[in-house]
């Protein structure tokens, strides 16, 4: 046994010496599109996110978007870093069971101005995926709806509304804003209409045990 191990030690150490740096420097080949100065900084940010168990794909895409649009190094690095921070805050609010897509939508909602408390309340209010509620929240705030109004409306609908109902609600708000309605008023009116619609639809659906 001793002799066998002693014989195997050389190749084993060689394999380790080759494998360890390779594992530490495993860089996504898509990042080759970044310039030489940006690439290592972005790769380090992505590596840190991976270590923190955050989804890395949104960070890669944000960097690639910058590369395609010809953004300078500092702007790309700042964008990736900001998104990584927002993903971490979204994970803190939504919990470790949140999917990567939910975290990405949550980061967008936080970036738009929603609070972590709102995200946590959405998590408690809705059993289904939060991708659409979070995205609708982000889009509403981005459209000029005050964040409190948008959060209250989405929270009131999130418990019972389907994804399609929430999307229709967002379209109604944007349509009314485009027609000249104040964003907060448009949101309140659309939320009321959507809630009534959801109630009617919910009554018409076959009941399922254990679900509202």
């Amino acid at each position: 046994m001793k002799r066998a191990l002693a014989g195997a030690t050389g190749p084993l150490l060689a394999a380790i010496l080759v494998a360890a740096p390779a594992a530490a420097q495993q860089v996504d080949p898509r990042l080759e599109r970044l310039d030489a100065a940006t690439r290592p900084v972005v790769a380090a940010l992505i590596d840190s996110a991976r270590t923190a168990s955050l989804p890395t794909e949104p960070l890669v895409q944000r960097a690639l978007e910058g590369a395609t649009k010809g953004a300078p190094e500092g702007v790309i690095v700042a964008a990736v870093r900001r998104l990584a921070v927002d993903l971490g805050r979204a994970r803190d609010a939504l919990g470790s069971t949140a999917s990567p897509a939910e975290l990405s939508a949550g980061a967008a909602a936080l970036r738009a101005g929603a609070s972590q408390t709102t995200l946590a309340m959405l998590r408690h209010a809705r059993r289904e995926s939060l991708i659409v509620p979070l995205a609708v929240l982000a889009d509403l705030v981005s459209s000029g709806v005050p964040v409190d109004s948008a959060a209250a409306a989405v929270l009131s609908l999130a418990r019972r509304a389907r994804d399609a109902d929430l999307v229709e609600f967002r379209r109604a708000v944007e349509r009314d804003i485009a027609l000249g309605a104040p964003p907060a008023a448009a949101t309140a009116a659309a939320a009321t209409a959507s809630a009534q619609s959801v109630d009617v639809n919910a009554g018409a659906r076959p009941q399922r045990p254990g679900r509202p």
Binding site: M1, K2, A19, T68, A105
Partner: protein, 185 residues
């Protein structure tokens, strides 16, 4: 008052030398009982393997060999951790989405976004119907996507029929598409 010790021993020896009558069927009964007892660990390959696994052994290892083994274990753990934390493709159904742009004067239009690595060569749009209409169909899984149209290799256009991405970091306009688990954008 006491018998001499030799006499006592002699009497015990005589007693022990007496022939004893043994039941002739005793051997058979004993062998039957033994064969009826369960074999520890079983006589099967599993039983043999179990006994082999439970038998203590001693190994000798040089310090260098021990270091190599520990280093190999550390590398294996590192690689496993990297694999386990890397995003795995979700097993969710994707849905086809048609993107449309009216661009009468464009010579070529590409769709670029989070779903194709922002690669302008990967998803070219096709003229359909009239010369002004450019379309392409892309399968998408649930999520929130940024995208834009890249016209003639130089101009960025947001989708006029979709919400504008106001969290855009790069100045050039982008749009947002949200795909729900069972719903649309």
């Amino acid at each position: 008052m006491f018998e001499p010790m030799d006499d006592v021993i002699e009497r015990i020896a005589r007693h022990l030398r007496r022939p004893v009558q043994v039941d002739p069927a005793l051997d058979g009964r004993v062998m039957r009982e033994i064969s009826a007892l369960p074999t520890p660990g079983g006589a099967t390959m599993v039983g043999k393997a179990w006994r082999w696994l439970r038998r203590p052994r001693q190994f000798t290892l040089t310090p260098l060999g021990g270091l190599a083994a520990v280093a190999a274990l550390a590398v294996a753990l590192l690689l496993f951790r990297r694999d386990s934390t890397s995003p795995t493709p979700p097993q969710v159904a994707s849905r086809a989405f048609q993107f449309v742009l009216v661009a009468p004067r464009a010579a070529r239009v590409s769709l670029v976004g989070d779903f194709n690595d922002w690669d302008a060569t990967r998803t070219p749009m096709q003229r359909t119907g009239s010369d002004a209409l450019w379309t392409v169909v892309v399968p998408l899984e649930p999520g929130r996507y940024h995208y834009a149209f890249f016209v003639d290799g130089s101009r960025w256009l947001a989708d006029p029929s979709a919400p504008v991405a106001r969290d855009d970091d790069y100045g050039a306009p982008s749009s947002v598409l949200t795909v729900g688990g069972g719903g649309d954008s």
